[in-house]
Symmetry: D2
Subunit: 355 residues, 4 copies
Amino acid sequence: MTAAPASGKVRVGVVGLGRLGKRHAENLAFRVPGASLVAACSPVEEERAWAREALPAPRLYENYADLLADSEVDAVWLVTPSSLHAQQIVDALRAGKHVFCEKPLSLDLAECERVLAEAERYPHLQATIGFMRRFDPSYKDAFDKIEAGKIGRPFLVRSQTTDKNDTEGFFVRFAGTSGGIFLDCTVHDIDVARWLLGKPRAKRVFAAGAIALHEGLRESGDVDNGVAICEFEDGKLAMFYASRTQAHGNDTHSEVIGTAGALAIGHNPRANRVEIYDANGIRNECTPNFFDRFEEAFLHEARAFVAAVQGGPGAAGSGAGSGVQAGATLADALEATRIGMALRQSLQTGEAVTL
Amino acid sequence: MTAAPASGKVRVGVVGLGRLGKRHAENLAFRVPGASLVAACSPVEEERAWAREALPAPRLYENYADLLADSEVDAVWLVTPSSLHAQQIVDALRAGKHVFCEKPLSLDLAECERVLAEAERYPHLQATIGFMRRFDPSYKDAFDKIEAGKIGRPFLVRSQTTDKNDTEGFFVRFAGTSGGIFLDCTVHDIDVARWLLGKPRAKRVFAAGAIALHEGLRESGDVDNGVAICEFEDGKLAMFYASRTQAHGNDTHSEVIGTAGALAIGHNPRANRVEIYDANGIRNECTPNFFDRFEEAFLHEARAFVAAVQGGPGAAGSGAGSGVQAGATLADALEATRIGMALRQSLQTGEAVTL
Amino acid sequence: MTAAPASGKVRVGVVGLGRLGKRHAENLAFRVPGASLVAACSPVEEERAWAREALPAPRLYENYADLLADSEVDAVWLVTPSSLHAQQIVDALRAGKHVFCEKPLSLDLAECERVLAEAERYPHLQATIGFMRRFDPSYKDAFDKIEAGKIGRPFLVRSQTTDKNDTEGFFVRFAGTSGGIFLDCTVHDIDVARWLLGKPRAKRVFAAGAIALHEGLRESGDVDNGVAICEFEDGKLAMFYASRTQAHGNDTHSEVIGTAGALAIGHNPRANRVEIYDANGIRNECTPNFFDRFEEAFLHEARAFVAAVQGGPGAAGSGAGSGVQAGATLADALEATRIGMALRQSLQTGEAVTL
Amino acid sequence: MTAAPASGKVRVGVVGLGRLGKRHAENLAFRVPGASLVAACSPVEEERAWAREALPAPRLYENYADLLADSEVDAVWLVTPSSLHAQQIVDALRAGKHVFCEKPLSLDLAECERVLAEAERYPHLQATIGFMRRFDPSYKDAFDKIEAGKIGRPFLVRSQTTDKNDTEGFFVRFAGTSGGIFLDCTVHDIDVARWLLGKPRAKRVFAAGAIALHEGLRESGDVDNGVAICEFEDGKLAMFYASRTQAHGNDTHSEVIGTAGALAIGHNPRANRVEIYDANGIRNECTPNFFDRFEEAFLHEARAFVAAVQGGPGAAGSGAGSGVQAGATLADALEATRIGMALRQSLQTGEAVTL
């Protein structure tokens, strides 16, 4: 049992080495002082070859079970296909490992609940779902300002996740398994809204959508633009917008409106600090995708998780008292999935859905 | 019968000389070259006294019927209490006058329809409802860019009407007669959405709301913050936000999202071109209220109406072919009221409402 | 002698009906309640024909002397070629008329001084030079904030006048008579700097320039981009930039830096409130030229001058005590010319010039 | 002789462990994959104690000579008092070490030239001065766009280095040794201007200044606000502004104006992506100091230097052909000092200074 790392360093094994897995691996290897990347797992030989070159000599595994059997791994870092998440989390906890898992926890509510029930048996182990937006410095600054009372009582969040149009329609092919636009994209906004509004529970939702460009989605009942309203139990509200078809870039932003002011986070998704003056006017370029937009967030997320495992202040996922750097708990992920599924149901039925 | 003005000038009589009536009167008297303000009507002596001082000698009436009997009035300009609008429009048309009327047409759908039926009998008379936002230079520029195909096919509008918090709660006292936040505020956004999306008909709406500050609204079933979604028949969508409780000012803005780009109108409601650098950062002040924000719009609205009466190009309210300066027709006003009432019903029932 | 208008209205005669003259004429005819446009003068038949159509029946003159002889003209409004200004002002004053004159007073310092000396003999007559920027609502707001102490003691102004590149090089043909870029463009910034800094006198200047695009300027010793520093007597400073070659539009803006904060006026020369989202990013279009940028300023300038003639509060050109709406006096214009000529001398010699 | 590192890693010794030295040390230790921080040097015991705790076990030296004698150090990283830079660079080169040195090279031109002469004897060794602004992603993006011809021929740079007012006047006490505002602050803008304009040589400069708040500077002939113009040999221009007294934060920004467009870098020094809506308007907070503003730049600078030592593409300081990531050479630093000293001379004499 490895829950208490022998040295000060948390020994991490990364599972999954796709584009995002590589980023997590590099962060953990080089940019998180409290972590030591000791193992990596991928069934893909090219990915393991990359790890051999780019990482500081982790032990490499083809099978997840073998990595779990490695007694010198304190924590696993799951960047695997969504459908594997739930069981892999359970397996990690049973093997005595802390676990960080990319979102979503699961697209099946019963499965989400099964993971929560299992996790309750291991209260000494961290289990965090990767809603990285909480760790973006600007989102965190907004959270801190709200906590400090700068906008009075927050009661409304407007949040959007919109992607630059992918003319190749990559996401169309995955529409069947992604859970649709609300579970794939809006789930981030749901988590942001709950986090900024004090973790209220949802009471009722309504959603609608349109296919602007990708007719191929019709067959799976999905849309490429979706709008939604979520009412929470304590009179708080959220509005969401998700899109796959933006012309200008990835435009992820949020607003929180309170009784004494409001905060906007990322209203103009500037690529950097440059403005271009030409015959078309004055413009800025935009962040091309979430991967670039949230580069810093992924790093801070890793640091916070490692701090949580180490038990220090600013621990990730350690509940209500832990302050701004708390990552999403399994319960947060369950609630986000619950709301996302209700949005999908509303989209499909045209009716408001009561939770 | 005065429908065809004898000289080139349209002879206008203003009815109602409150704050907004005074503005219309001054615009028509001094800033609309094609108009001649020849009469004004108010039951309030102070208002008529103001007119004697400030305007170029219009004939002054206490009673609307007397003004309608004035054969040298070609058009009436109604800036009267909302509950009078419908009958006053009908009376004006029957007296052979063109009629401009501030919004709303009526909060009663049957009454709206009665006015439309009556107006069909006078096709040679202009009858326009004052949705002034269409005449704001920035809204008009957006409309023109959409017409020119700059953003592809527009399919989603997000629009908000939010007021600076009135600590005296003026609007609370009027909650019983204003029709509530959606009919009082969002009705502008509804008109903007339909105008920018090509005048689609609504299919289904959902609304929710919260009382952030003004508990006095609870008794009339109203809210001080409302959110809504509107689905139109052709797969187009709108999202609305209305608020009475903003800290920073009147923040009226709209976005139109198309298949090839998007336009935002007034995202930051700058009071002017000044930015202030101080210990709190860099800031701009905001437009305090709609009256200041839409000063230019009211003027252009008056010019367009007068041009419409004169039958020239850019005629207001003259239907589909008249280009960007067309004011809202009675049919537009009816549709806006229909949607606004459905939003109110949705707010009260918690259900989506099908139109 | 007509200095005291018989009625409340100031009876104005406009002299010169080019593009800017037409604007002034229309403002005075229709948009300045205290003014009555009773006469207009132009040697060009087309311009007089325009006046017959567009204006409310002013008396039309071919010769300035005839207009001056019109006893029912209280004030003349000079929008004539720069080389005529000085003598026309003197003639107007001698005829007992108030006089508004477009900038510059003169490009000859001795002539400026002669006009000032003459004007001292007519202290009851207004004589104002048209530095309209003072009347732009944003510049005026900045002035008011400075007066209210919002930025502490202002000590540095950075100001620029830059035009969209004119590929036809109109200004190149006028380089011989315009006085060059500093006297033609920067003179506005000089006036703004002095106005915002409390009317200090200049002590020393340095200027440099470059020809970016218009080689034809070389022959007259002019440049199409010029930069300058001006030191004032009380330790205050100004930096100026003038350009004829901007790609994005007319970009006239100013900053005032004080000991407790700073103000920027028009940093982004937005054409309106629209932002465009497309594959190139997010952009706003820019004001195309000074004529559009300062449309409101020209109107407020006319109102202020007329108020000054009427002797009311907010009088234009009535000296130190008159508050924010004071137009530039002849002395201000003389000082602006003096500084502008020193800049030209510095450009030509490469040396700092002491005033 | 250690110029060719045995392994792939460049073994670096950091000299000086003040605030900036600590940052460089941490970057080199943890965030520059190609580097290995093997040694650190400081005469201050507390700083060495910090190094023992925070860094991965470098060898620690009290004396620079001892570090230079360490044969397992390939490169030294000087973050020492300015007056030591020149001799320490020479000593490093003589010891066969690559050398990175914080700016300035020296405030003495003869000394600068002596270092250049010495460095010519070691062409295989990197010697770079730390003008980190070149490595800021936004500055680099602007540089790349210029290289790609996006703004035509660049001919004018406006650049400023302004600090938040330090009420304790730290810099006042160092005014005697800092070289004054132009050599301490503007030297960065000088380097930026030359870098963005294609490394032109200066021909003539003029400077002026004011003491806005810190009277204590008078004794050393320094100012707390300075403005300057620099003319380059090929008709290119630069304008500079430096300030110690800003209210809103560190506001370091630059503009490059070309014949076909312009670029602004950092016009609004946003602290992050948050905007605050409250009763004062809409605002963003600002970067508090250069240390935070250029956090990324310091990291990229280190990576580029290490890449240069390794001889790969994107090598720092390796001359004209090396592309955007080239750090400032000793010759660049000499030219920046030469211009900065001329600015100081101009400030003191009130005359333009020809170089």
